[in-house]
Amino acid sequence: MQVYTMFDSDEKGVQVMDQGRRNALRMASALGLVCAGSLLGPMRAFAGEWKANSFEAKGLANALKELGVDSYTMSGEVSVISAEIAENGAVVPVSVNSAIPNTEYMAILIEKNPNPLSVAFNIPEGTEAAFTTRVKMGETSNILALVKANGKWFAASKEVKVTLGGCGG
């Protein structure tokens, strides 16, 4: 079965990293952080702070609440581009863009994923409100592009069907 599930190991099985590599990773990361720190200057460069509450929120309503969205308007000026059918839910290409002036923030949410929030962009001046990335989808679902502009929330959505594929195994 080729359908992507977030809860099962894949068809080939997955090896857990051995301890040696884990340790090496930790060491590398310690060193890496020093480098990153010096490169990026003050850590507040990460304007978009990673918030567990929003990424771990279950269900669309909770995820929106955690993002501080009370209500939003569906807008024709926001678009979600993807294929209507995904051959594999593990990799679903998605482009989002907003033609609303002063778009300052965009997020991609997968309505039926256990944790809907997938990725969010803080948009600095000079950067277009248009991004392409790839997301995992556990099942057929709407993909929601959420936009913040002038303090208001807008959105667009598109359904992507996740299909079973291959020779069944």
Partner: protein, 103 residues
């Protein structure tokens, strides 16, 4: 241990189009290995791109971004020969920075 990214930055008129490919497992923490043991989460949380010290992209990610993430975006203000620097940090505090020259 993190492997290098593949970054392309191309100037089109006054806009620079950046495409980033990252080697990362983006493990959800919800899958099990064949022995039934849960595979710990391992995913990128933040990604920042800069050009001449100015932040041009500021991203936060969750476990549902695909393995070996791909990201493309566009910004204004970059010139031929300028460098675009991309840095990610994951949930194990592993990090990687790479750069590309705008062409």
């Amino acid at each position: 241990m993190a492997e290098p990214m593949r970054i392309r930055a191309k100037l089109n008129g006054d806009t620079v189009e950046v495409k980033v490919l990252i080697r990362h497992d983006m493990e959800t923490g919800k899958r099990k290995d064949p022995s039934g043991k849960v595979i710990p989460p391992h995913f990128i949380k933040t990604l920042i791109a800069k050009c001449k010290e100015k932040t041009v992209l500021d991203t936060v990610m969750g476990i549902s971004v695909s393995k070996d993430p791909f990201l493309s975006f566009k910004f204004k203000g970059g010139a031929l020969g300028d460098k675009v620097t991309v840095t990610w940090v994951d949930n194990t505090d592993d990090t990687r920075t790479d750069e590309a020259t705008i062409s």
